[in-house]
Symmetry: C2
Subunit: 258 residues, 2 copies
């Protein structure tokens, strides 16, 4: 990045182009960089690292009064990053920020999250990337989250990140005065307690809705979900390398034959 120009920042999310958190994040980033917004045309939560293979994608435009302009892609968050880098941006951005998501992306949510996946796709394409989530679905106040996102973005533009790692940030939905601090955390081990709902349609045939609640399993401060429940901002370095390196040795000893 040249120091004589503003950093270029690509902003994406998984809640779609109309997401309030996206608009707050874009406005916040405009204070430190040249911002391009590329987001899904519709909400695409829970898409994980899905990409669109069987159908082609369309690029559109979305404008909301004079303050917000963004490109839309008719696909997943990962599609947005791929299309933004190949067909919308003239060159690679200095930073990708994804969010601000409605709902926390702690623990195993890391795998389900389209917000996190968009940032991971950024790092796959060798661009420092950050994901931001607010820990609520209701009565969201993105004010402090937008401010913290800018602070962290500045830091990352200066310090850099490893070529295989994003920062996934979860921000408690409380006023700034109630934020206890910033905790650098590991992805927690909390998992969803499944609670799939079965219903019958008007013909008497069953259908199923996915549902559930995150059950806290982490009893140590070094995990993300534990931190946010105590009103800390949680910053987790998440890598695209999913290898269990300890397990390499144990499986190696199995001495598997073809």
């Amino acid at each position: 990045m040249n120091s004589d120009r503003k950093p270029s920042i690509l902003v994406c999310n998984d809640d779609g182009i109309q997401g309030e958190g996206l608009h707050v994040l874009a406005a916040s980033m405009k204070k430190i960089g040249a911002v391009t917004v590329v987001a899904p045309s519709e909400p695409r939560s829970g898409m994980g690292h899905a990409m669109t293979l069987g159908i082609p994608l369309r690029i559109g435009e979305y404008r909301k009064n004079s303050r917000f302009f963004g490109f839309t892609v008719s696909g997943t968050p990962v599609d947005c990053i791929k299309v933004a880098l190949s067909h919308i941006l003239p060159e690679k951005p200095d930073l990708i920020v994804s969010g601000i998501n409605y709902g926390s992306n702690t623990a195993t949510n890391t795998l389900y999250s389209g917000t996190v996946a968009a940032a991971l796709e950024g790092v796959i394409q060798h661009i420092p990337s950050l994901a931001f989530s607010l820990t609520t679905y209701e009565n969201a106040d993105f004010t402090y989250a937008g401010k913290f996102a800018r602070k962290l973005a500045r830091k990352v533009l200066k310090e850099g990140l490893p070529s295989d790692t994003i920062l996934s940030v979860n921000i408690p939905n409380v006023p700034e005065s109630e934020i206890q601090g910033v905790a650098v955390t590991a992805q927690g081990r909390s998992r969803w307690a499944e609670d799939t709902i079965e219903r019958d349609d008007m013909y008497g045939n069953p259908y199923y809705w996915l549902s559930g609640k995150l059950r806290l399993l982490d009893d140590e401060t070094l995990y993300d979900e534990y931190a946010v429940r105590r009103n800390y901002v949680s910053v987790t370095p998440v890598a695209i390398d999913m290898t269990n390196h300890d397990e390499l040795k144990r499986i190696g000893k199995w001495n598997l034959k073809k």
Copy 2:
């Protein structure tokens, strides 16, 4: 698992209920266990860890002559595991096997793969899980892959796996005599060289297809893609914990304030 009964094995994939690799895997597992097949009603490749939130899911049945019976779920591979565990199987299976996928799931493909995601969802739900992929899209011969899958399943039923780790297995598409051995590998650093294709529709409006090729970046034998290109079966322990633990320390030193 009681030793006086056959292990129960759940078989899933991402190529859909009609996938040849699924049928081979189910037939192979029947030799060592009581098999239930639950697979997407349609091919759902590249879905990563996506789950279906906005629409309900349906369960169906699929029969192919007297040899193959499976349940279908109108969603993603991850949906299949969730619905299988909550509404199809009477109790938790002893093992989940996913595949056999058309096309390798090495390197960053680990993140895009629905086959791998189904196995990861299994381990999220505390069930030992394996993912199998054959390294080709054309002229697939699943014979040896099915045989190796059974061998590894037997081993895992005996030895167990950590509660956060699957084995992702990639098998070269060559006759058994050409297989060089079995390598326990780390997820490679190879990434896709993006090659998004732009075309115009009949009205002159552009649309975009995702495309690309995996560019080999790994020059060491301990990586998955390198191993399969040399006709080794690659066995990679993949964890649901994506934390970059080394980076925890470095980011910790940033001493971030709220």
